[in-house]
């Protein structure tokens, strides 16, 4: 029921209906005690400083032997991958027979301001990967990097290809030359040194302000009008509050890592040119030769396809594929397409590649290089 569009309603009716709706909505909200997120059962199997490695409880008897490590971005929190039982990429993959791990980067504090990208990639991520390898008894694991976590995963895979069996880049920015997203335009005008020197730890609210500026009228007004239109529906209220919790749960960014990321990636675009260095080592994307899946969202306003797609061409993998889904950046995590299209496609691609090396010829790894536009068309048709 939407009070604003009911036909033949006069003003007193409208006011009465609105009052009843808001009264019910107030009751729903006052009954809610806690907004639960990240509820899929898991245990912390490794931690280092603020970083924690989560291992999710498998839901099938014999999961795939090659585990999947999900690497979320440093911006916002990893639990968008497990927002609620019916909106959980993690649960979906568990139910499809995968052994899933995820990294929680935590909230950097003052003493983390000097952490560099090298510390994140060759330190925390490398140690987490080693831990997963030891725990699962496999030499190589599957890496699923999400958003900027995807960028970090790509850096890791290029520097440590011997540890990665499969690489999935999930709406990850790699080529920053595009001006399709305002973020790319704004970043070029920022005096990054001044910002990092002043803040040390870049406040999460500073970044959030930038995200809200992408479409202020929709994100600061229309979203809430939409919420009030459905305030008498308990499920809608719960989902809305979960998303709000995630959106404004923004950890700060370690200053030095932020400095290098903004300058080398957004301003100089060194990563795609194979000229970026971390820890004194140059990142050569040609070192990525493992099976690779590049996942993008057609209407992504944060990471345009132009920023992700060039990676498929830049690496030397022969078994590689690009998929574009007709949804937005956030829709990839929590939209209906996430559960019904994105997860099944990831599982379908990953499963045959998630067995030990000796089984590889038996199951037959499909060596395809699909044209992403064709893929997009087929997704739209479906």
């Amino acid at each position: 029921m939407s009070f604003m569009i009911q036909k033949n309603m006069n003003e007193p009716d409208l006011i009465r209906e609105t009052f009843i709706k808001y009264k019910k909505g107030s009751e729903i909200i006052s009954e809610l005690t806690e907004i639960s997120v990240g509820v899929t059962p898991h245990e912390i199997v490794y931690s280092e400083d603020k970083m924690k490695l989560l291992h999710y409880k498998t839901t099938v008897k014999n999961p795939c032997p090659v585990p999947v490590l999900m690497v979320y971005a440093l911006v916002n929190r990893y639990y968008i991958l497990d927002l609620s039982p019916d909106k959980s990429i993690i649960k979906n993959l568990l139910d499809r027979g995968f052994d899933v791990y995820a990294i929680d980067w935590g909230y950097p504090s003052g003493m983390d301001r000097y952490l560099t990208i090298d510390d994140y990639v060759n330190g925390y991520l490398n140690n987490a990967v080693d831990h997963v390898r030891n725990k699962s008894g496999t030499d190589k694991i599957s890496l699923l990097g999400v958003c900027v976590g995807g960028t970090l995963s790509v850096m890791f895979a290029a520097l440590h290809p011997e540890k990665v069996k499969n690489l999935i880049s999930f709406v990850a920015p790699i080529d920053f030359a595009t001006d399709k997203s305002p973020l790319n335009i704004w970043a070029k005008e920022m005096d990054v040194d001044k910002i990092v020197d002043y803040y040390g730890i870049i406040p999460g609210d500073f970044l959030n302000m930038g995200f809200l500026l992408l479409d202020p009228f929709r994100l600061l007004i229309d979203k809430y009008v939409g919420f009030f239109e459905h305030i008498d529906d308990k499920k809608t209220v719960e989902n809305f509050l979960r998303m709000e919790k995630w959106i404004f749960d923004s950890p700060g960014q370690a200053g030095e890592a932020y400095r290098q990321f903004m300058k080398d990636c957004y301003q100089e675009n060194l990563l795609i040119k194979n000229r970026m260095e971390i820890g004194g080592k140059r990142i050569n994307l040609k070192e990525i030769s493992m099976p690779f899946l590049n996942i993008m969202a057609e209407f992504d306003h944060l990471v345009p396809n132009e920023s992700s797609l060039p990676l498929t061409e830049a690496i030397s993998s022969t078994d590689k594929e690009s998929m574009v889904f007709p949804t937005g950046h956030i829709g990839m995590f929590v939209g209906s397409k996430s559960q019904n299209e994105v997860c099944p496609n990831i599982a379908q691609w990953l499963k045959p590649r998630s067995y030990a090396q000796k089984d590889k010829t038996k199951i037959g790894v499909k060596k395809t290089k699909k044209n992403h536009h064709k893929q997009k068309e087929s997704m739209n048709e479906s």
Partner: protein, 183 residues
């Protein structure tokens, strides 16, 4: 004096005779022990003037830009509503709202992704941070240091030292593990 071309020198030329006259007279009486000799305090305060002037100037540029773009959005909205028929009933509320949000959202998005806005925002951020940095320095020098409390610079030095020590410890641990595993 133009606000957007302000600098220390021109202000000093203007204010110094007045400052010296004040120091030689009633300035003797009104001293503030917590913030040091009044002469230093005034000089330091004056260094902030160009920063605040610049901040004010770029802020006003932004206000002007947003006023113009709001006007543009209003015009576009007016064009749309003039095409709607004159019925005034609740059925139309949602339609008007949808038109309003669409018009304003599109107009502002167009503006926000322009090079003009991007450049202005860069300048604004830069001036805001310079003014903030100045404020922080004044606070630290005038209040924290006299009270023997650590400043953000002191804490940053400790953080840098901690970071370096942690890194060394991790590296040593890694080497010990390698040696113990006979690598």
């Amino acid at each position: 004096m133009r606000m957007d071309r302000s600098d220390n020198e021109s202000q000093n030329i203007f204010f110094f005779p007045w400052l010296k006259a004040w120091e030689a007279s009633s300035g003797h009486i009104g001293k503030f022990p917590a913030i040091g000799p009044s002469r230093e305090k005034t000089e330091k305060l004056m260094k902030g003037h160009p920063l605040y002037s610049n901040l004010y100037s770029v802020w006003m540029d932004s206000v002007s830009d947003f006023a113009n773009i709001s006007l543009e959005a209003m015009k576009r909205m007016n064009d749309k509503t003039s095409l709607m028929d004159g019925q005034n009933n609740p059925d139309k509320y949602k339609e008007i709202y949808n038109n309003w949000i669409e018009t304003y959202s599109d107009t502002f998005k167009e503006f926000l992704r322009s090079a003009h806005f991007s450049g202005d925002m860069g300048k604004f951020m830069s001036c805001l941070i310079e003014a903030g940095k100045y404020n922080r320095e004044m606070l630290e020098e005038n209040f924290l240091k006299p009270m023997n409390l650590p400043t953000s610079t002191d804490i940053d030095e400790i953080n840098r030292e901690l970071y370096s020590l942690k890194k060394t410890v991790k590296e040593l641990n890694r080497k010990i593990n390698e040696l113990s595993q006979g690598k």
